[in-house]
């Protein structure tokens, strides 16, 4: 019942936003901005980048909301847009790294300085590829099953299963190694 009650206003907001009501879109923004920002951060692990990705996600959602057909929940639709924004961010980052190779150490240290979490977990997640981090973020943090995560990431569910398996194995090794290092 709880889910149903929560969904009633949201369905109305989506309908109204699709009809051009800016206030309804604003309500959707307020409901989901933190969620999308947290998801983006868990994948890219840099807060300023997460700000940009979350903003880009909502700009794309604003442009595309008329085409949203409710085959997926609005929340999962937003995750899908965020995933595409993250893919673009990765491409852009790779291009920037190629162009600005000589400044990479400086850029990396600046980015790190703006990220407050220096925990072993943060360091371990940083060691994973973005694909593995995204699978972990969707399944462990966002609570999706492998099918839903696969729909969001645009891949087969077996690929998600395999990424989760690899990520868990790597995280276990990395975190246990860190534990062994600490005095």
């Amino acid at each position: 019942m709880r889910i149903e009650n929560e969904d009633v206003p949201e369905a109305q907001w989506v309908s109204d936003a699709q009809s051009g009501d800016a206030r309804s879109f604003e309500l959707l923004f307020d409901r989901y901005y933190d969620m999308i920002h947290a998801f983006a951060y868990r994948v890219c692990l840099v807060d300023t980048e997460a700000d940009d990705i979350a903003q880009e996600t909502f700009i794309r959602a604003a442009r595309g909301i008329a085409s949203y057909r409710r085959a997926a929940s609005f929340k999962n639709w937003l995750y899908r847009i965020a995933h595409n924004a993250l893919v673009d961010w990765r491409r852009q980052s790779a291009r920037q790294r190629e162009k600005q190779d000589q400044f990479s150490v400086e850029l990396a240290s600046r980015a790190q300085a703006r990220t407050p979490d220096y925990s072993p977990l943060h360091a371990a997640l940083k060691q994973l590829s973005p694909d593995l981090r995204e699978a972990v973020a969707l399944v462990y943090f966002e609570g999706m099953n492998h099918r839903q995560a696969a729909d969001t990431m645009g891949c087969a569910e077996t690929t998600v299963s395999w990424r989760i398996f690899r990520a868990k194995r790597a995280l276990r090794l990395l975190l246990e190694a860190k534990k062994g290092e600490s005095p």
Binding site: I3, E4, D7, A11, V14, S15, A17, Q18, S19, G20, A22, F25, F29, Y33, D34, H37, A38, Y41, D47, A50, D51, A54, Q55, F58, I59, A61, A62, R63, I65, A66, Y68, R69, R70, T115, P116, D117, S119, L121, L125, V136, V139, Y140, F141, N145, H146, R147, Q148, A156, E157, T158, T159, V160, S161, W162, I164, F165, K168, L171, R172, L175
Partner: protein
């Protein structure tokens, strides 16, 4: 470090909050894009599926479905088509809520999620065999299954790989089905299948 420890570790990752100015800028830009874009009315109305009355029907339907398995326990070699049928019947009764169906020598146990959020993943069949004792586990990739093997409880996550192999990931150990492993004295076989078959 077991699976629960890892989950606990992951929950410790802190996400930095966004500043009000960052959020306000994002909202402003999104609203600008919204007002610039064209919106059309939706073409479908939302449907509400929830209805408490299905509970009674489900109990009756479940009893009818499980009766043949109780009265006529499976004999002879395993039949994947039978297993597929069982899983499909259960899925009809509990759409997207089946975590696992465990059939042991004709006795069927269901593991059902409280909310309809699971069940759409890649189906996997795992068979445990020790002498005349045969346990069929029908589940989905990514789901966690616990069952009694002999006198001990074994829990593992069922994972299908892109190459069609099945991995059983326990608390501290991983088994590859292609290597025909043994768990608690039970020989293990596993396979994936497509739901459309």
């Amino acid at each position: 470090m077991n699976d629960n420890d890892l989950r606990r570790h992951l929950r410790e990752l802190t996400v930095p909050g966004t500043s009000e100015s960052t959020r306000a800028r994002a909202r402003h830009r999104a609203l600008t894009a919204f007002q610039a874009g064209s919106s059309v009315p939706p073409d479908q109305s939302e449907r509400n599926y929830f209805d408490w009355s299905w509970c009674v029907a489900l109990v009756l339907a479940l009893a009818v479905t499980l009766l043949p398995f109780v009265l006529f326990p499976r004999q002879g070699p395993e039949n994947v088509a039978d297993d597929r049928q069982v899983l499909q019947q259960m899925e009809k009764l509990f759409p997207r809520q089946i975590n696992a169906v465990v059939e042991e020598n004709g006795k069927v146990d269901l593991s059902i999620a409280q909310a309809p959020v699971v069940g759409a993943d890649q189906p996997v069949l795992v068979v445990f065999k020790q002498g005349a004792d045969t346990i069929h586990v029908l589940s989905y990739s990514g789901h966690r299954v616990c069952l009694m093997l002999g006198n001990q409880q074994s829990c593992f996550e069922v994972l299908a790989t892109p190459s069609g192999n099945v991995i059983l990931e326990g608390e501290n150990k991983v088994w590859l089905a292609s290597e025909h492993p043994e768990i608690a004295g039970y020989a293990v076989r596993a396979q994936t299948w497509t739901k459309s078959l």
